[in-house]
């Protein structure tokens, strides 16, 4: 025996010591708050790689040698789950964090109404599936030790397995049960298994590189030696292949140890995103050299050699003992990390879902607050760890070295796959309830035991070889491996099909057979709608359902479960929040709710609920209350929608109001201008009248000519005042649309001529020249000739009065176009400034002429009113300022033909 091989046991012991040191160091760093890279996504991903146990470490090559590409299925399933992490893993991790889930048993129990029975059932199935799996690891360690130590394989040397079991139990008890809060991270353990993940990966890569490049000249040369028919895998995408992919996908979610590392030990949801590509990459690297090693083993090793041990026997054959030792440690790592995490996960489940409910039941009969539950929980976990590992060892001892490694692993996979319907249903189907989960899990478990678990034992175990071959009592239809005549299938596919079919069908049937109870319904909401704020429902529920407890009782309960110091901290924090400086906080619903959540993190939701029920009364949710909560939610949603609509309407109304207000303000300003203008218009004649009448009154010495002249001025100014009042009254009439109009056929140009004649008198002092352009002549319109004349006169007088030129020039044109008579009256005055164009026609507009000349612009508003009443219009042409104003009068013609 070579020195390196002699050191195999020593190396294994040294390696275990190293794990202890790393775990101790990790825990210590976490305790002083220096978690650093311990909380990195890399460590998270490496810890997930406990999926690759010694079964994959050694067995993948064996599987490749026996069945070609089938080994890849074990990697494909998890890869699919991780690549599609957004769909399922993200939700699972979020629920795990918000609900302080401690294990998959806790998840399923909590989801289906915090059911104690479900928690216990899941725990039972998990233990049943894991025990042979742990045995498998011990067996792998034993065999590999025997191989490396050169002990013949015909008799298993149980000593190695035993001591490994003892070391692992010690390690797990020491580092896995430091704290009763099962929801807390095990930093030391995670650090150790991350290290192991690296060791096993590098061991596989090292032996692979050694085989491909050391024993052969690269992959080409290696595969050239492959036996004929190798990889002619007609099985790919066959039933067994698809089943294996599905099973391994289910296993990565449902295996208690995977749930432990993926959900419970998760520090940060973002780590899942990293793991979604990093973990598949890890799997890829792990499987990179599987085929080359298998081919090399078949080529180089004698035909009787165990393919499951090629990884180890190849380097040994080549006398690469250091490498062989490294590979041994890699396999050892795979086995130990699986044992450690499995036993932690399972012991939590056993203590929380079997021991705690039993203890609570017993305690209920005795004093309510007796005993330290905390110590009971920790002790039960430690015992559970030791027991589980011991059970595994015993199973290994009893079953011996009979089966191929992979078979046991797959049996366990089918076992834990029974959680899948409840898990998926619980996450996505609100109607799924406790009855469905209980029925489905029970049926699936029994079917699994009957079709796969028991037949895998020697001679069918308690079934007996007869039953296995001919069915119970000779009923062929009930043969375990050809149930209901389903013959000729691979036993694994057969068992998977029947167990999952029975499971899923009864799960659905049970769920549909009755309405969910209120608490199940609430939990369903929190799980299914976890991304839609479903977790808030819980908070509301707690505030709705009155639970009464004294602070002392709650404090004692907290001390019993959480420990004295954390309980003190929690209650102090609540007291501070409530403004109480010393003593216990008030036993509010907040406190009760928070405490129950913390208890759930230690003992699982079901036990936490039961414990709280002992001191605070049941978390009873009556259906009426639930309906009222739901109604309230619906009502609030309706209100908020209505409010949203209302606020839209208000916004529209506000905008309309703002617009109306702006209009009103403009009108108000115009009104002010108008009043100011009217005031000016009135004051001017008034001033003259007052002044001259004062002169007449106080000057008796006036000569008669002067006196008569002053009296005449007073008279003229009085008439001016009267006219002004008439205009204002006219304006009111136009305002109300009450201008009396009598339509008759007229020639508008003739009316224009009359207006021009009338305006002769306007010319007065200033010289005014009227330029007549082309005229329509003989157009016929329906109009009131007096009103039309009034409009023309108004325009002509404006042209003169608002003119600042010394030589006033007025242009008059008319024509008939498109069935409308058009007359244009322009002047050479200052024109209308652009900013006043819109205002000249408004009622109150009066001050558009610069320098403000006499005569309110009221005329334009009246004129436009008249034109529109007659079916025509009065508009102001857009023109450049300084070019004078041009007003356009239009009327529809009755005929365009000029009269003969």
């Amino acid at each position: 025996m070579t020195p390196a091989v002699e050191f195999a046991l020593v190396a294994a012991l040294g390696y275990v010591a190293l794990l202890f040191a790393v775990a101790y160091w990790g825990d210590r760093r976490a305790r002083i708050g220096r978690t650093g890279w311990l909380r990195s996504p890399l460590v998270y991903t490496l810890s997930i790689s406990i999926y690759c146990t010694s079964w994959t470490f050694y067995g993948a090559v064996g599987s490749a040698a026996r069945s070609g590409l089938e080994f890849a299925t074990i990697y494909l399933g998890p890869t699919l789950v991780f690549v599609g992490w957004w769909v399922l893993l993200r939700k699972l991790v979020r629920i795990g964090r918000t609900q302080r889930i401690t294990s998959i048993a806790d998840l399923i129990s909590s989801r289906f109404g915090k059911s104690e029975a479900l928690g216990a059932l899941v725990t039972l199935i998990a233990v049943a599936a894991a025990t042979p799996y742990i045995a498998l690891q011990l067996k792998a360690v034993t065999i590999s030790y025997q191989v490396i130590a050169g002990v013949p394989l015909d008799h298993a040397d149980f000593r190695a397995g035993f001591w490994v079991a003892v070391a692992m139990a010690a390690f797990t008890i020491l580092f896995g049960t430091r704290n009763v809060d099962a929801n807390e991270r095990h930093h030391g353990v995670v650090a150790a298994i991350a290290l192991e993940a690296l060791v096993k990966l590098f061991a596989l890569l090292a032996v692979g590189a050694f085989v491909v490049f050391g024993l052969f000249d690269g992959p080409g040369a290696l595969f050239a030696t492959a036996p004929p028919g190798f990889l002619q895998a007609e099985e790919v995408f066959g039933p067994r292949w698809v089943t294996l992919v599905g099973l391994s996908a289910a296993a990565i979610l449902c295996l208690p140890r995977q749930f432990q590392v993926i959900v419970v030990e998760n520090e940060d949801e973002r780590h899942v995103a990293t793991a979604s590509w990093l973990f598949p990459a890890y799997l890829f690297l792990s499987s990179l050299f599987t085929l080359p090693i298998a081919v090399a083993g078949m080529t180089l090793l004698p035909s009787g050699a165990d393919p499951d041990m090629y990884v180890l026997t190849l380097p040994l054959m080549a006398d690469a003992e250091a490498l062989a030792l490294f590979v041994f440690l890699g396999g050892f790592s795979s086995a130990t990390s699986m044992i450690i995490v499995s036993s932690i996960a399972l012991s939590t489940m056993v203590s929380n879902h079997i021991v705690a409910p039993l203890a609570l039941r017993l305690a209920r009969e005795r004093a309510r607050t007796s005993g330290d539950v905390r110590r009971l929980l920790l002790t039960s976990r430690r015992i559970a760890i030791a027991t589980l590992i011991l059970l595994g060892f015993l199973y290994f001892r009893v079953s011996g070295a009979s089966d191929a490694l992979a078979a046991i692993g797959l049996i366990a996979f089918v076992g834990v796959a029974q959680f899948l319907p409840s898990l998926l249903g619980g996450l996505y189907w609100p109607q799924a309830n406790r009855r469905g989960a209980l029925w489905g899990l029970t049926a699936g478990f029994l079917m699994w035991m009957y079709t796969l678990g028991l037949p895998s034992l020697e001679d069918g175990g308690p079934l007996g070889a007869d039953t296995l071959l001919h069915g119970p009592f000779g009923i062929a239809l009930l043969r375990p491996q050809a149930l209901f005549g389903l013959d000729g299938l691979d036993p694994l596919v057969h068992a998977t099909f029947w167990s999952l079919a029975a499971n899923a069908l009864l799960f659905i049937a049970g769920s549909l057979s009755r309405e969910p109870h209120p608490l199940e319904w609430l939990q369903a909401r929190q799980f299914v709608d976890v991304f839609r704020g479903g977790a808030d429902v819980g908070a509301r529920e707690r505030t709705r359902v009155q639970r009464i407890a004294t602070s002392e009782e709650l404090f004692i309960l907290a001390q019993r479960i959480l420990g004295a110091e954390p309980a003190q901290d929690l209650f102090d924090a609540f007291a501070r929040r409530q403004g109480i400086s010393a003593g216990l906080p008030m036993p509010t619903e907040d406190l009760i709710g928070d405490l129950e959540r913390r208890l759930a993190g230690s003992v699982g939701a079901a036990s936490a609920r039961a414990m709280m029920a002992q001191v605070a009364g049941g978390e009873e949710v009556s259906f009426d209350e639930l309906v009222s909560i739901a109604d309230e939610t619906a009502r609030i949603m309706r209100y908020s929608q209505a409010l949203e609509r209302k606020s839209d309407e208000l916004e529209t109304a506000a905008r309309q109001l703002r617009e109306a207000n702006a209009q009103l303000r403009e009108i108000d300003r115009q009104k002010d201008d108008f009043l100011s203008q009217v005031s000016h218009e009135v004051r001017t004649p008034m001033t003259a009248i007052r002044s001259f009448s004062e002169i007449l009154r106080t000057s008796p010495d006036l000569d008669s000519t002067q006196a008569r002249r002053f009296v005449n001025i007073i008279h003229d100014e009085s008439i001016r005042l009267t006219r002004l009042l008439d205009v204002i009254l006219d304006l009111r009439v136009v305002e109300r649309g009450e201008i009396p109009i009598t339509l008759e056929p007229v020639d508008p140009d003739a009316v224009l001529d009359v207006a021009l004649e009338t305006c002769e008198g306007l010319r007065g002092e200033a010289p005014v020249r009227v330029v007549c352009g082309t005229r329509a002549g003989g157009a016929r319109v329906e109009a009131d000739p007096d009103r039309l004349r009034q409009v023309f006169i108004n325009l002509l007088s404006n042209a003169v009065r608002h003119n600042d030129k010394d030589a006033v020039e007025i242009t008059v044109k008319s024509r008939v176009r498109d069935g409308r008579y058009e007359a244009v009256i322009g002047d050479n005055g200052p024109g209308v400034p652009a900013e006043h164009r819109d205002r000249v026609f408004s009622i109150f507009s009066a001050t558009w002429t610069k320098g403000g000349h006499k005569g309110a612009g009221l005329g334009l508003a009246i004129s436009r009113g008249i034109m529109r009443r007659m079916g025509g219009d009065l508009t102001l042409d857009a023109g450049r300022p300084g070019q004078g104003a041009r007003f356009r009068v239009t009327l529809p013609t009755t005929t365009e033909e000029p009269p003969p």
Partner: protein, 123 residues
């Protein structure tokens, strides 16, 4: 030499009454019908002792005339009495700010006008 007034007022009847009542007091009176006219007369005949200025004047309103007067060194000291037909506080404020010496709203009493003119320029 008689005290000389310039009355800038575009409303003929009001102008006539002002000329009559102030002429009776012995003032020498010139008249202008718009703002430009008033300014050019002030510039060409600087011997004016008082300007009576209507606000609503064509071409250049009373405020513009007042501003020009105050800006011209030769005229800046000229006493100015402003007339307005609007009689609003705003006009009065503006007139005071721009340096008018007195302000009379239309319709006025002849006595008030005479008293104000006398206060600014003795005949």
């Amino acid at each position: 030499m008689a005290t000389r007034l310039l009355i800038a007022e575009d409303e003929p009847s009001i102008l006539e009454s002002l000329v009559f009542i102030l002429g009776r007091e012995g003032y020498d009176i010139a008249t202008a019908r718009d703002g430009d006219d008033a300014l050019s007369q002030l510039r060409t005949a600087p011997a004016t002792d008082l300007l009576i200025l209507d606000i609503m004047l064509p071409r250049r309103n009373g405020f513009e005339v007042l501003k020009a007067v105050r800006a011209e060194p030769a005229l800046s000291g000229l006493p100015v009495l402003m007339l307005t037909a609007k009689g609003q506080a705003r006009d009065r404020q503006m007139a005071e700010q721009m340096g008018a010496d007195a302000f009379i709203a239309k319709p006025f009493s002849n006595q008030d006008v005479v008293r104000a003119v006398r206060g600014l320029a003795a005949p």
